[in-house]
C-alpha cells in the first residue's frame, strides 16, 4: 500500500475520531457545557461581584477583572481533562475501545484524536465562560497571540494528562481521584484568585512548583498584560509538559498499558 493512500486513510481515521468526540460533547451538552457555565457564573457573582467589591484592587486591576482570566483557565483545565478521562475510560470500561485497537489506526492518531476532543471541549467551555465574564467585566486581550496560544497549549497539556489518567484507571473511582485531590487544589493554589506576591517568601517558592501557576499567569498576561511569572519561563514550562506528557502517553498506548492484556 502506497504512502499517499496510507496518509489519506489516516486522515479519514483521525477525522472520524475527532468527529465522534465532538459529537459526543455536543450530544451531552447538558453534562459538558452547561455545568461549567453555571459554576463560573456563581464564581463571578460571589467572588467577583459580592466579595470582590470589598477586596478592591489586585495588581492594579479590579478584583473581578483580575480573577476572570484565572476562572476561564480553570474551566479550560477542568473540562479538557474531564473530557478525555471520561471518554477514554468510558470506552475502555465498555470495551468499545477495541473498535480502535483492532483497526490499523496508529497509536499516535488515537492519542491525537482524543486530545483533540479534550481541546475542543476545553476551548468551547473557555469561550462560553469568557462570554459570561463579559457580562461582569471588561476583557480585551493585550497580547492576543499569547492569550490564544497559552489557552490552546494548556488544553493540550490537560487533555494528555486526562488520557494518561484514563489509561491507568481500573474503576470509576480512579478517574475522580486525580481531579479531586490533585487538579482542584493545584488550580485553586495556582494564582487564580490571588497574586503570589501576597504570599510569604516560603509559600511563593512552593507555589513555583505548581505548573498551573505558570499557565494561569501566562494567560492573565495575554489578557491583562500582567503576570507574576516571566512569560518566556511560562512558555518553557508549558512546552516541557506538552512534550513530556505526549511522549509518555504515546509510549503507554503503543505498549498497550491498561488497554491490552
Amino acid at each position: 500500500m502506497g504512502r499517499p493512500t496510507r496518509l489519506r486513510e489516516n486522515a479519514v481515521a483521525l477525522y472520524t475520531l475527532v468527529d465522534k468526540e465532538y459529537t459526543r460533547i455536543v450530544r451531552i451538552w447538558i453534562q459538558t457545557l452547561v455545568p461549567p457555565a453555571i459554576t463560573m457564573t456563581l464564581y463571578f457573582v460571589i467572588f467577583g461581584s459580592l466579595i470582590g467589591r470589598r477586596i478592591g484592587q489586585m495588581d492594579g486591576f479590579g478584583y473581578m477583572q483580575y480573577i476572570a482570566p484565572g476562572l476561564i483557565m480553570m474551566s479550560v483545565i477542568t473540562n479538557a481533562y474531564g473530557n478525555v478521562v471520561s471518554s477514554f475510560f468510558g470506552a475502555k470500561f465498555a470495551r468499545h475501545i477495541e473498535e480502535m485497537l483492532v483497526s490499523p489506526m496508529p497509536a499516535s492518531l488515537v492519542l491525537l484524536g482524543h486530545v483533540s476532543g479534550g481541546v475542543i471541549r476545553g476551548l468551547l467551555v473557555g469561550a462560553l465562560v469568557t462570554l459570561i465574564a463579559l457580562f461582569f467585566t471588561d476583557l480585551r486581550p493585550v497580547h492576543p497571540f499569547v492569550t490564544v496560544s497559552v489557552v490552546f497549549l494548556t488544553a493540550v497539556v490537560f487533555s494528555l494528562a486526562g488520557l494518561i489518567n484514563a489509561v491507568f484507571a481500573r474503576k470509576f473511582d480512579d478517574i475522580s481521584i486525580v481531579p479531586t485531590f490533585v487538579l482542584t487544589p493545584l488550580t485553586y493554589l495556582g494564582g487564580v484568585f490571588y497574586s503570589i506576591t501576597l504570599l510569604p517568601d516560603f509559600w511563593q517558592k512552593v507555589s513555583l512548583a505548581n505548573p498551573i501557576l505558570y499557565m494561569v499567569n501566562a494567560f492573565r498576561y495575554g489578557i491583562l498584560g500582567k503576570s507574576d511569572i516571566t512569560i518566556g519561563h511560562a512558555y518553557g514550562i508549558i512546552f516541557v509538559f506538552v512534550i513530556g506528557l505526549y511522549l509518555f502517553a504515546l509510549i503507554l498506548l503503543r505498549r498497550g498499558t491498561g488497554i491490552r492484556e
Binding site: M1, R95, R260, E261
Partner: protein
C-alpha cells in the same frame, strides 16, 4: 485498506500461527506453543472447552492481547513487523458485547469504517448493504442499548465486515441467540464465505461447527489436540449411537449380532453402531422379530461425541480424569 500479500487470484495462506505462546502476568499459561494454518477461503472451527485458550489466541491475532512468544502471519503480514497490514485484513466479532451502547446502529458501523480509513460515502453504502443483509437496516437510528441480544450480535458482525476483511474471526457469535436467528446467521456466514471471505469460528454449539466448517482445530489446555478436515475428524468416530422409536412396546429386545442394543423405555431403544458396519443388518433383524421402527435419530451430535472423547482422553493421559 483490506489488501494483503500474495499474487492476485492465487489462493494463499490466510493465517499461519507458529509456536504461539501466552503466559499471563498471574503465571497462567494460556497457550503452550500452538501451530495452526488456515488457507484462504477456508471455513475453520476453533473449538475447545472454556478456558482452553481460544479467546487468548483470537486476542493475539487481533492485537488485543500481547503474545509471549511465537509468530502470527495474516495473509503473509507478520503482526510483529507489519501489524497495520495484518489488521487491515482482519475483522473481529468478539465474544463479549463491546458496542458503544449509547451510539446509534448506523453510527457504530460508519465510525468503524472511518477507523479503517474508509471515506464516509463508501461507508454509508456498505453500511446499508450489511445492515440490510443482517436485518438491521430498519433499526439504523436506534441506539445499540435498545437492541435485543441477537441484534447486538448481528450488529457486531456488520461492524466487523464494514471494511470487507479477507479474514473474519467470530468468537461465539451465536451465543444466546435463538434458533431462528442462529440459522439465518448461518446462511449469511455461508454466503460471505462462498464469496471469498475466510472465516474462523469458535462456538460451543458443535452442531454449528459441523454444519458450517470444513476445517476443525480443537484446542485444550493451551494446546491444539486436533487439526484436520472436518470430514476426516468425523471419520475418526468409530461408533455412533442411534435412538430408535418403536411403533409398539416390546417386552424383550432381540439379540442383534454386531450391535449393542439397550432399552430406554417400552418404545425407545438405543443402539451403538460401528461406522464400518452400517445399519442395514440391524433393521433386517428387527423386522424379522416384527419390530417396526417409526423414527430414528443420532443420540448425540457426532462432533460433540468426538470432542468429548478427545478432551476426556487428554485428561486421562494427564492423570486428571477417570
Amino acid at each position: 485498506m483490506g489488501s494483503g500479500g500474495g499474487r492476485p487470484g492465487v489462493p494463499m495462506r490466510a493465517l499461519q500461527i507458529r509456536n504461539l505462546s501466552k503466559t499471563y502476568a498471574n503465571g497462567v499459561q494460556a497457550l503452550k506453543g500452538i501451530d495452526l494454518n488456515v488457507e484462504e477461503g477456508e471455513f475453520c472451527a476453533l473449538l475447545g472447552p472454556n478456558g482452553a485458550g481460544k479467546t487468548t489466541a483470537i486476542g493475539i491475532l487481533t492485537s488485543l492481547i500481547n503474545k509471549t512468544g511465537g509468530s502470527v502471519e495474516v495473509f503473509g503480514h507478520d503482526i510483529d513487523t507489519d501489524l497495520t497490514m495484518a489488521k487491515s485484513c482482519l475483522g473481529l466479532v468478539p465474544q463479549e458485547i463491546n458496542l458503544n451502547l449509547f451510539d446509534k446502529v448506523l453510527n457504530i458501523v460508519v465510525t468503524q469504517a472511518g477507523y479503517y480509513g474508509i471515506p464516509r460515502r463508501i461507508a454509508l453504502e456498505r453500511a446499508e448493504r450489511y445492515l440490510t443483509q443482517l436485518q438491521l437496516w430498519d433499526r439504523r437510528e436506534s441506539v445499540a442499548r435498545a437492541l435485543s441480544g441477537g441484534m447486538k450480535r448481528r450488529l457486531m458482525i456488520a461492524r466487523a465486515l464494514i471494511h470487507e476483511p479477507r479474514l473474519l474471526i467470530l468468537d461465539e457469535p451465536t451465543a444466546g441467540v435463538d434458533i431462528e436467528i442462529r440459522r439465518s446467521m448461518w446462511v449469511f456466514l455461508r454466503r460471505i464465505n462462498a464469496e471469498g471471505t475466510t472465516i474462523i469460528l469458535t462456538t460451543h454449539y458443535l452442531e454449528e461447527a459441523e454444519n458450517l466448517c470444513r476445517q476443525v482445530a480443537i484446542i485444550d489446555g493451551g494446546m491444539i489436540i486436533e487439526n484436520d478436515r472436518m470430514s476426516n475428524v468425523l471419520r475418526k468416530l468409530s461408533v455412533e449411537t442411534f435412538v430408535l422409536n418403536l411403533e409398539h412396546g416390546v417386552a424383550s429386545l432381540p439379540e442383534v449380532p454386531g450391535y449393542v442394543v439397550r432399552s430406554v423405555d417400552a418404545t425407545t431403544v438405543e443402539v451403538d453402531v460401528d461406522s464400518q458396519r452400517g445399519i442395514n443388518d440391524l433393521f433386517t433383524v428387527l423386522t424379522q422379530h416384527g419390530i417396526r421402527v417409526v423414527s430414528m435419530r443420532n443420540k448425540a451430535n457426532r462432533l460433540e461425541e468426538l470432542f468429548m472423547r478427545l478432551v476426556e482422553n487428554k485428561m486421562v493421559a494427564a492423570g486428571g480424569g477417570a
